[in-house]
Every structure is written in C-alpha cells, then in structure tokens.
Symmetry: C2
Subunit: 195 residues, 2 copies
C-alpha cells in the first residue's frame, strides 16, 4: 500500500510523539476517516509505521559488503552507509522511539529488547569467529554497538559529518590496536574478516 509509504515519510519528517490523525491525513491526501478505516486505530497505524520503518532500517544494512577484506574496511563501510544523509530520517525516528520507549515501557513492547538484542546477535558471531569466548564476544559486540549508536546519536544531532568521520577513524584505529583474544592473533588487529 503506497498510502503507508507516504505515512512513514510523514512520520519520519514530523516525528511520532506529536503525531495526530488530522494533520497526517491532510499531508498524505487522505482523511482521518479513511486512515482509521484501513488501520483500525491510531495505535495499529503506528505499529504498521514502525514495522515499515524497521524494514527500511534493515534495507540500509543489506547494502553492506558481506565478506569484506578487513575489519578496518568493514567498520568504515558500515559507517559510510549509516551516515549517508538519505538515511538520517530512519535513525532519527529510531532514537525518538528509543527515548519514548525508555519512559513508557508499555507503548512499544519489545522495542528496547530488540533494539539491543537484534544487533548483538548480528555482531556477536563475528566476534566469536575471531577467537572471543561466548561471554567476551557478547561484550565485544556490545562495545561495537555502543560505538555505532553513539556516533549516530551525535550525527543526528549535529550533522557534523567531517568531525565524526575523523572520530570514527580514530575509533577504528583503537579497535585495530586491540590485541587479539587469547593471545592467538597477531596483535595487529582484532579480526580479519566478516566482523
């Protein structure tokens, strides 16, 4: 339904916190009556928007190279994709909902668990493959996630790509300098592929 796409665009431009049916309907060329006819209720509409926004977020990461040559290039490529200006709306909405979910735990059930857990599950196998024990791999994935989130949070607020690009480079240097787990690596960087 292309109507939903227009709604998602509007929500990304105007936020969820003060979303209201009448202005939304006018913006997407519809009416409150029709929106409720198709989505049953505002809450169900918001659910549909969140689902669609999540798909958009996943599509961003689908463009990432699968088995890059080096760790260095992986993180750099990930940041270049995430920080692209056309994706800003996705992350801005993500952080807005994150903040709302922190205070109202019943409004977006499971959102926070997924927001962290899904990405840890995504990052953890790479750490495992590079010699980290299960617990250490979880911790390593948590550190990676914290970095990405922190940089994105800053980017959404300041849009200062130049400064953050250098900061990410510094971060990569630090990760690169991290000794391999179990003393099994060459100490040059933490992993060679797929992380």
């Amino acid at each position: 339904m292309e109507l939903l796409e227009r709604i998602v665009d509007y929500v990304m431009a105007n936020g969820l916190a003060e979303l209201s049916l009448r202005p939304l309907a006018e913006a997407v060329g519809s009416s409150p009556r029709v929106l409720l006819y198709y989505f049953e209720s505002k809450e169900a509409l918001v659910d549909a928007v969140m689902l669609r926004a999540r798909e958009r977020q996943r599509a961003i990461f689908a463009d990432l190279p699968r088995n890059p040559a080096s760790y260095r290039e992986t993180v750099r490529a990930a940041w270049d994709v995430m920080s692209a200006s056309q994706h800003e709306g996705v992350f801005r909405l993500f952080f807005e909902v994150y903040g709302l979910a922190l205070q109202d735990t019943t409004r977006f059930p499971g959102f926070l668990d997924r927001a962290v857990g899904d990405w840890l599950d995504y990052l953890e196998p790479s750490a495992r493959a590079n010699g980290y024990s299960p617990d250490d791999a979880r911790a390593f994935a948590s550190m990676m996630l914290a970095g990405y989130r922190g940089f994105l949070l800053d980017l959404c607020a300041t849009r200062d790509r130049a400064r953050l690009s250098r900061a990410v480079d510094l971060w990569i240097d630090a990760l690169d300098a991290l000794p391999a787990p179990n003393g099994s690596g060459d100490g040059d960087h933490a992993c060679d592929e797929d992380c």
Copy 2:
C-alpha cells in the same frame, strides 16, 4: 523550592512526552492552578524542570576524581559513576528529550547543541594535553563521547550492568592500545592523566 524537586522526581519517573498538569499536580500534592501560578505556563515549568535536571546531571560528574592516576582508571571511574542505578532516571530523561529534540527542533532550543558541544568542550582539553592537534582532539573527544553515550543508551534499555561492564573494559583496552598522537608517546596508552 521543594515543589520543583518533587516535580522533577515525577517527570523522571513518568517522562516528559506525555506530561500533563492534572496528574502531575495530584502526584506532587498541588493543583494545576497553583502550578501555573508559580511557573506561568506549562512550557516554563518544563524549562525549569530541564534546568534542574541538568544540574542533577552535572552533580553526578562532580563526584569524579579530578586528576586520576591513569586514563584507564579515569574511564572506569566515570563509567562506574554514570552507571550507578540511582542516576538512571537522569539519563533516561536525557535520552527522551534528546529524541524529542531530534524531531521537534523548536521545542528544546539549543538542547542538542549543548548535549554534544558541552561535553566535547569538557573532553577536548584532555586530548589536547596528550598531544592531539586541535582537530584531532575534537575527533578524539567525539569518539569518547560516542562511547559513553552508546553504553549509557544500552544501559538505560537493558540494565545489563554485567555485560556492559565487560564491554567498557574492552573499550578501555582498545583506547589503551591506541598509539599516541604524533608518534610522541610510548604507544602503551593514549594519555597519562586528566583525560
């Protein structure tokens, strides 16, 4: 005014997004009429709450050791203070407002600039003192800020202190392994004091 303290407590427990005068008044043992009498308007009341919350946030960091022995201990001490459970409400409110400010740029004027700029200004001198050029120091400070913010964001969502404590340790290891700028250091860690 102790009334304001009770209001801040209530806002930290219930969030800002759906704050409404009647439930707030009842919770703090007052009335909407009185709240508006003292604060002029809801908007001014929220401003007062934010100002007070900012003071509470600053008070948290005032407890940090001033000139710690090592970088390692500095970051660790900072995390131990920030992650203390009694401070959770401050950061939860911070991230909620951060998210709201991302979507509604007129509602909390200057908040985002301060949320990033103030902390960069706080972190940057340490990086300068350790040999970073002005631009590199800004980037280094940005990386530090991103890490802290990312870890706090995760902590607010999951409260998983054990996992995050290990993640912070890994992060510190990475920072420690970072070669000193300009090749002027010993390569063991990035700085020795006050950063």
